[in-house]
């Protein structure tokens, strides 16, 4: 054959390559390919899981934001109602305090008026006692029956006038 072509040797080369191809396929190609496929599948699964997680996280985020918005609205409403309640309570307190103050003032005025009456009464008694003691002193120093009777009369007149005025005042009240 030209170029030293030999069919037997071609067949020997073919046999050699078939043996090699079979061996390499079963020893190297298939196991490594299987490993690569498994790893690819694992990555695909991981990626899928990550995507699902991301989607779930996004949903949770939306829910959370919604809850936050709801909470803000609720807080605003509660604040408003609390302010209203507070204003009502404070108005009530102020009203009660004013009423109480009015009662206290009235009571105080009455007490003051009463005390004034008592003071006036006790002052009149004291004045009378002073006048009597002063008169006694005077009488003991300068005893004179005419002047005494004149003084008695004058005193009776004065005392009578003041008692009459007091009665008139009491009647007026």
């Amino acid at each position: 054959m030209p170029l030293n072509i030999d069919f037997l040797q071609i067949l020997l080369h073919m046999l050699n390559f078939v043996i090699l191809a079979g061996g390499l396929t079963f020893l190297l190609f298939k196991p490594v390919n299987r490993f690569l496929e498994q790893r690819r599948e694992q990555f695909v699964q991981t990626e899928k899981k990550n995507l699902e997680d991301a989607e779930k996280n996004e949903q949770l985020r939306v829910q959370y934001e919604q809850k936050l918005r709801d909470a803000d609205t609720e807080i605003a409403e509660k604040k408003k109602s609390a302010e209203k309640e507070c204003a009502d309570v404070s108005a009530q307190y102020i009203k009660e305090a004013r009423e109480k103050a009015a009662r206290i003032i009235l009571k105080a005025e009455n007490e003051a008026e009463e005390r004034k009456g008592h003071i006036l009464q006790s002052a009149q008694a004291e004045i009378g006692e002073l006048v009597v003691s002063a008169t006694q002193k005077l009488l003991s120093d300068t005893a004179n029956p005419e002047r005494d009777s004149a003084l008695y009369d004058e005193f009776i007149r004065l005392a009578g006038d003041s008692a009459a005025r007091e009665r008139a005042n009491n009647d007026k009240k």
């Binding site: 170029l3 030293n4 072509i5 030999d6 037997l8 040797q9 071609i10 067949l11 020997l12 080369h13 073919m14 050699n16 390559f17 078939v18 043996i19 090699l20 191809a21 061996g23 390499l24 396929t25 020893l27 190297l28 190609f29 298939k30 196991p31 490594v32 390919n33 490993f35 690569l36 790893r39 694992q42």
Partner: protein, 288 residues
């Protein structure tokens, strides 16, 4: 401190002297080797190159058969590759991790390269052709590199010679070409039926072109290397560089070219043929 500085300075001087001395000896030796008369040549350049192409003179014994040295090389490469693959299968693959180390990356890259090539060119049936082109690529690459190791073998004439790359033997190249064509034809028949087979048979020149492309490419590298070996007496500096460069280049290119061609033709052969639209005449006939 001063004492140590003086000691280190002295050591540095000694090292410089040692390097200079060795460099001088190496230079003189190189000069002597270059000036030596060239070795006696038993064969003319014509004989050497003719034998590289045709392997007519140097034959070897193989289980009682007288064969070209390429056969011995081919079986030796196969044995080495199978042992290597078995070792990887037993010791490395069970320890593969999700995050690969350096060795695992190399193996994965090698398998994934051919597997990806098969997937991209033959979408419908990438498994078989993937395994085939993986084996073919690995075989062509490592069998071409094999000649670099210069494994010595005894010829039937009793001389010792270094084993060549198997594919530099035209019989090996024809075997690869024919087998590749058979794979493509088989794919066409299995997945395309008669139409697929006819489509592949149309490219009847494919095995010849594949065989001779492989053989020619490998042979050209071999011839240049032989020429360099023959012409230069200094047969361990320049020839090594030339041989390594040519061999690595051819190994990579030829492995890539053959596997790409096979995967493309296989992809075409197994591709489902679109159904032809009915012609106007047929439509009219149906209407009538």
């Amino acid at each position: 401190m001063e004492h140590s500085a003086i000691v280190s300075k002295g050591k540095g001087k000694k090292n410089v002297f040692l390097v200079l001395w060795l460099a001088l000896i190496a230079l003189i030796l190189v000069g002597i080797i270059i000036m030596l008369p060239p070795g006696e040549k038993h064969e003319s350049i014509q004989t050497v190159m003719k034998d590289s192409v045709l392997h007519e003179h140097n034959k070897m014994a193989f289980f009682g058969l007288v064969v070209n040295p390429g056969i011995i090389s081919a079986y030796m490469v196969t044995a080495i590759l199978l042992v290597g693959a078995a070792l990887i299968r037993i010791f490395a693959i069970p320890r593969f991790k999700t995050v690969p180390g350096k060795f695992q990356s190399v193996i994965e890259m090698l398998v994934d390269f051919f597997s990806g090539m098969a997937r991209s060119n033959s979408h419908h049936e990438p498994h078989f052709v993937g395994a085939y082109i993986f084996s073919a690529g690995v075989y062509i690459f490592f069998s071409t590199i094999f000649e670099l190791f210069g494994v010595q073998w005894i010829t039937t004439a009793g001389h010792s010679m270094s084993l060549p790359a198997p594919i530099s033997d035209i019989n090996a190249a024809i075997a690869m070409g024919v087998m590749s064509y058979v794979v493509i034809l088989g794919g066409g028949i299995v997945f395309g039926g008669v139409k697929g087979a006819l489509g592949v048979l149309k490219d009847f020149s494919l095995p010849i072109s594949m065989s001779f492309r492989l053989f020619g490419a490998l042979l050209s590298g071999l011839l240049v290397t032989e020429l360099v070996y023959y012409s230069i007496s200094l047969s361990f500096a320049l020839p090594i560089v030339v041989a390594v460069l040519f061999t690595l280049l051819h190994a990579a290119i030829q492995a890539y070219v053959l596997t790409t061609l096979v995967s493309i033709f296989y992809g075409e052969a197994v591709e489902p043929k679109p159904k032809k639209e009915k012609t106007k005449k047929a439509k009219k006939a149906k209407e009538i």
